[in-house]
Amino acid sequence: MTYNIYFSLLIMCGTVYLIRLLPLLFLRKPITNKFIRSFLHYVPYVTLAVMTFPAIVTATDNLWSGAAALIVGLIVAWVNGDLFVVAVSCCVTVFLCGLIL
């Protein structure tokens, strides 16, 4: 049997979709357990923080430009907080660092 890429893609896309779907489908009522509810409330903060640092520093091919992007991002997010503004500030910082370094 020849290896079928479309079949593999179908299997894997289906698996990933089910992982995302099942909790949404089965947790349809508000969870009453205070601990679990609190846990789920804190999930996004921890997840995003863990994914951001130290990954942002090593995302570019120069540690300094990544670190600069982190610092600028922290400051702009603190002062302004607008998603688009913060994201663009980080990109511009890395681009400018690339010109200097």
Binding site: M12, Y17, N80
Partner: protein, 283 residues
Amino acid sequence: MENSSSIHNNLQNNLPNDPQNNPQSDLPVGMEHPHPHGRRAWALKGLRDGIPICMGYFAVSFALGIEARNVGLTAFQSFLMSTGMVASAGEFAALLLIASQAGVFEMVSTCLIVNLRYFLMSCSLSQKLSSKTHLIHRFGTAYCITDEIFGLSSAVPGYLQPFYTYAITIVSVAGWSGGTVLGVLVGNILPQAAVNALSVSLYGMFLAIIIPPAKENPFIGGLVAVSMAVSWLFGVLPLTSGISSGFKVIILTLLLAGAAAAIKPVPDFENDPEYLESEDPDL
């Protein structure tokens, strides 16, 4: 999220409040309808919020496309993969599996492990959907759960209006799939400086989601700081540095969000003013 003040403020700046139509205008200042009304306003906001995700995705998926070409996928096949999966680490793993001609069991189990964090996110997001939200939107929002879109959707005050998530997803997946296809077709046409700059877009966005609530709520601020510190330690310590980033996210989320919930449980959902005032997206 109880403290997504930046998003509140933005919306207040962008969309005028109408006190006449506000049934709860006797609420204290700052509590009266800080977010858009109806699916149209939410969808428009979603289209705008999707732009930074689109940019970041483009850079990441461009690299993915180059990898897909190396494995031997056509532009169309890689388009199907990116549109069907919408997962960065997950798709890199998928390419490895295809390259090694893995069997079904291996494909399913690897996909489960690499994408397990979406399971947690889906659990968390299930609480953001009103129980009155039509079942079809659970199938719809399930497709949209990526790190970034989940982050934005859970930062919404009160219940989530699914059309906000859909709008973000349309813009983001356009960048994601487009980037993958371009990566296959034109390989290394994008200058390295541009790829570098785009690659921090997603992280900038994460900061914009977590820093404003951290600024308002010292406990969340501490949680964010501890999460970042432990995340760094995890990568440095010899015992844990071998663990893949996907697993790192899962382990630390379970540990730290669990600890946070034990230390400071959130107030009752039913009495949360944010949920009481948020319009029920009855669809």
